[in-house]
Amino acid sequence: MNATAESYVTEDGRTIGGKVMEMKNITLKFGGVTAISNISFDIREGEIRAIIGPNGAGKSSMLNVINGFYHPQEGEIWFRGEKRKPMKPYQIAQQGIARTFQNIALFKGMSTLDNIMTGRFTHMKTNMFWQAVWKGPAEREENLNRDIVEHVIDFLEIQAIRKTPVGRLPYGLQKRVELGRALAAQPKLLLLDEPMAGMNVEEKEDMSRFILDVNDEFGTTIALIEHDMGVVMDISDRVVVLDYGKKIGDGTPDEVRNNQDVIDAYLGVAHD
């Protein structure tokens, strides 16, 4: 662990460690459009970090930068005390970063169980030969992975849909399966892109509880994008606010709530 900053203890007794990831002066452009301009912030070990902002503020772009899907033209990303070289998303997944998507990216025809099993892919070591022979290492590995997946299923309380094709599930449950797939990778850093979009109140409550439980039980660091301000303010430790690709606020939910720039961005003021 890079002890670049002192650790602290939250009100509810969790210990937040030093910086896991640090974004330094990130700028991302698509042709002439600047999606993100000169943004810096950090994510600490064990915290729930929210990225919020109005539509088009650059939140999803930011997540895609962290995830390695987009490569910023300027700036540096430091992960666990090392400057990160440009990488493919699967290499980043191997580093222990998992994510979910805003518009659900599951294999619709596969069962819940199989979908979550795909989350174990980066942990599978046996080669094609052993997979074909099956008996021996491949089978042992499958059993081990299945055990981890079953714990995830138990954790998310989705035993009843274990064998159901994902395409037949209601939206809220699909979101939960997607979270399950990300958890199956046993990530150190979990990125959630609008985990509660399109959910009803009850589903949101369930999802909030799962996010808090993941953080609490496994100590997973979580970075999430969310529109629902109530949810964000309730569950996150620190919030970074983006607007038109710029960072306009960063701090605890209370600090952010009272920040004049944030209020303006959300309530709207005339942009000269």
Partner: protein
């Protein structure tokens, strides 16, 4: 038939456990599906687990005679907790796990429980809420560690930690446990179970070892239950039936109890386990039949024809074959063919392939539903019982099964009809008393030991079978003096799959009226099929076509009610479809889903008044309670519909 005699070596549960651990040491006693795999514990392992918990609780200071509340869904660990409490000389008190904090607080306070063993964080939170008014709780033991790290643990322990402590203190505490077990006799209290309370507060029914063990032993013998049988435990642990099946009969015969993975997976787990002994309320069988019928409507025409053809045949000969009556060889062959093509696969889907003895009780079951299962070759029977009787009062012997009776007195039970038509019984299994409530005890149980059931009924002269009419106090008179038995009409209506619940009014009035709850599952499916859009239960309930369907059901029932000479006055004149489902959270039903008539009458007084005043629609506002205890209200305008009644048959002069 006489009650089974209980051997002195087998008159308490710790003794039964010791016997089973030797006699059936390698045979599974409990199973539970966890992480997608059925885990099982042999009797020897079960004894080890139970004793570890018992020793751990001794280390925590559990005293003789203390009450130990147990709250959670069916899990082997919680069943063990009951026996572990008994091993410490304490008394287990299982609670309904879906009760809200307020209901739970009442029972915790009334029972004076010192130890509470709960399943998970949700139940811990409820107990902590209850502790604002309940002060007797000294220790909380929880099973599932998830989310519990941040709680104050000065008087709280994880189940496995208590067991670990117990194992470590084995040498020190084992003699104390042995002493406590030895002090138990056949007349020690075995368990305290709270009645669901159709009227007023729940009452704590104290049952002794004699009660539970004699009921378990006699009933096991009645149906020839043995160590090779298996059951699925999915009904609330606080209900007396579950205690008898999953602990009483299980310990007596040594059969295996399987617990489902989660409440939602019950149907799948049922199919995987394939129990040989099964119990379910009529509602469950109804629900399952509705699902089958809905799925058959989506099947291919060939399958539909096959299903219809063989089901017609099964209805003709199936029940007769089950009763061992003579059936022609041709019919037998056709039934065999049907078994290969339809009945077998269907039973397998339902998880009923291996059911040797099935029981339904609690409410009347629709004759068609009953016949459906029996015609498939499932030996479904009825029994009549209550908590105070340790379940069994009457039950149907093999070969004498009918939909409209509840059977002959169970072995060792004497049953008689009181002067007012009320059913009375007496047996070894009759409860000791209501806890801290001598008045109620005296009201229910007379000095000679006869217990009043509160149900009106009569024995059929030709067969000796008991028939139940209604709750004795609900039976009333119409203003013209004819008999009013609401349950009689309600049951007839509830046999329609579209109708979930009915409440009939009419005591002391000229005509009868009814509240009806539609079955969202069945009616929703019908709506989907007929392209009827609806956004909520309320909207669907008020739909004119739904009203028309319900009206046709009511009128059909009126015709059948008119045929009964005693009760023809109970035909329904007007009815309405309620804008919300009656719910236990609102106090309208008990946790075992029996309607609390007085509360419904009181709460919806405006609607009842409207039905009798001749209005055609009424606006009303109803308070509802959500699962987490918050309150809200729903407003609705409810239609009232008239139904045709049939002229009464002329009374015999």
């Amino acid at each position: 038939m006489n009650a089974t005699v209980i051997d002195g070596d087998l008159d308490t549960f710790p003794k039964l456990l010791a016997r089973n651990a030797i006699k059936f040491s390698d045979k599974p006693a409990y199973r539970e599906k966890e992480f997608g795999i059925w885990q099982s514990w042999t009797w020897a392992e079960t004894k080890d687990e139970i004793e570890a918990l018992a020793l751990g609780m001794l280390a925590l200071g559990l005293n003789e005679g203390d009450h130990v509340a147990i709250i959670g869904r069916n899990r082997p660990y919680l069943y063990w907790a009951m026996t572990a409490a008994q091993c410490c000389g304490a008394i287990p008190v299982p609670l309904y796990n879906d009760a809200n904090a307020e209901e739970m607080a009442y029972v915790l306070e009334h029972s004076g429980a010192r130890f509470v063993i709960v399943e998970d964080q949700e139940q811990v939170d409820k107990v902590i809420d209850a502790q604002e008014i309940v002060h007797g709780i000294d220790e909380i033991i929880y099973l599932d560690k998830r989310g519990m790290r941040k709680y104050d643990h000065t008087h709280m322990n994880a189940y496995e930690d208590v067991q670990a402590e117990g194992r470590a203190a084995h040498h020190r505490l084992d003699p104390i446990m042995k002493e406590r077990c030895a002090a138990l006799t056949i007349d020690s209290t075995c368990v305290m179970l709270y009645t669901s309370g159709t009227t007023g507060r729940p009452k704590g029914v104290v049952l002794s070892n004699r009660n539970i063990i004699s009921a378990s032993a006699s009933s096991s013998e009645f149906d020839d239950l043995n160590a090779g049988d298996s059951v699925l435990a999915y009904l609330p642990m606080a209900w007396v039936g579950d205690f008898i099946f999953s602990i009483g009969q299980c310990f007596w015969t040594g059969f295996c109890v399987a617990c489902p993975e989660s409440p939602e997976t019950m149907q799948t787990d049922l199919r995987e386990i394939g129990p040989s002994y099964f119990f379910a309320p009529p509602r469950f069988f109804e629900g399952m039949l509705t699902t089958v019928m809905i799925r058959m409507e989506d099947a291919s025409p060939l399958k539909q024809r096959l299903f219809k053809y063989f089901m017609d045949h099964a209805k003709k000969v199936g029940p007769a074959m089950l009763d061992g009556k003579s059936v022609s060889a041709g019919d037998r062959f056709k039934y065999l063919l049907g078994d290969i093509l339809v009945y077998g696969p269907l039973k397998n889907t339902l998880g009923m392939s291996r059911v040797r003895v099935g029981y339904t009780a609690g409410e009347a079951i629709g004759p068609e539903i009953f016949e459906f299962y029996r015609s498939l070759g499932i030996n479904l029977k009825q029994l009549y019982g209550q908590t105070e009787a340790s379940v069994f009062i009457t039950q149907q012997p093999d070969g004498e099964v009918r939909a409209d009776t509840v059977g002959v007195p169970s072995p060792g039970v004497e049953v008689k009809i009181g002067d007012n038509g009320e059913v009375l019984y007496r047996s070894d299994a009759t409860f000791i008393e209501y806890y801290k409530n001598p008045e109620s005890t005296a009201d229910t149980k007379d000095p000679e030991g006869w217990v009043a059931t509160g149900d009106a009924g009569f024995f059929e002269e030709s067969t000796g079978h008991l028939r139940i009419i209604d709750r004795a106090k609900d039976v009333g008179k119409m203003s013209d003096g004819s008999m009013f038995a609401p349950k009689f009409v309600e049951n007839k209506l509830k046999f329609f799959p579209n109708i979930l619940e009915v409440v009939v009014f009419g005591n002391g009035r000229d005509t009868c009226t009814a509240f009806i709850n539609i079955d969202l599952n069945a009616v929703g499916n019908w709506a989907e099929r007929n392209n009827i859009a609806y956004a909520s239960y309320q909207e669907l309930a008020g739909h004119p076509e739904v009203y028309a369907t319900i009206k046709s059901h009511v009128e059909e029932v009126n015709i059948s009610v008119a045929e009964d000479s005693m009760l023809s006055g109970c035909q329904i004149d007007r009815f309405l479809v309620l804008h919300k489902e009656l719910d236990a959270d609102d106090g309208e039903m008990t946790r075992t889903r029996k309607v609390r008539r007085a509360i419904v009458e009181d709460k919806y007084a405006d609607l009842i008044e409207g039905m009798y005043s001749g209005a055609t629609e009424i606006s009303t506002e109803t308070e509802v309670t959500y699962e987490d205890g918050r309150k809200g209200s729903i407003k609705a305008t409810v239609q009232i519909e008239d139904a045709k009644t049939v002229a009464r048959k002329a009374k015999a002069a």
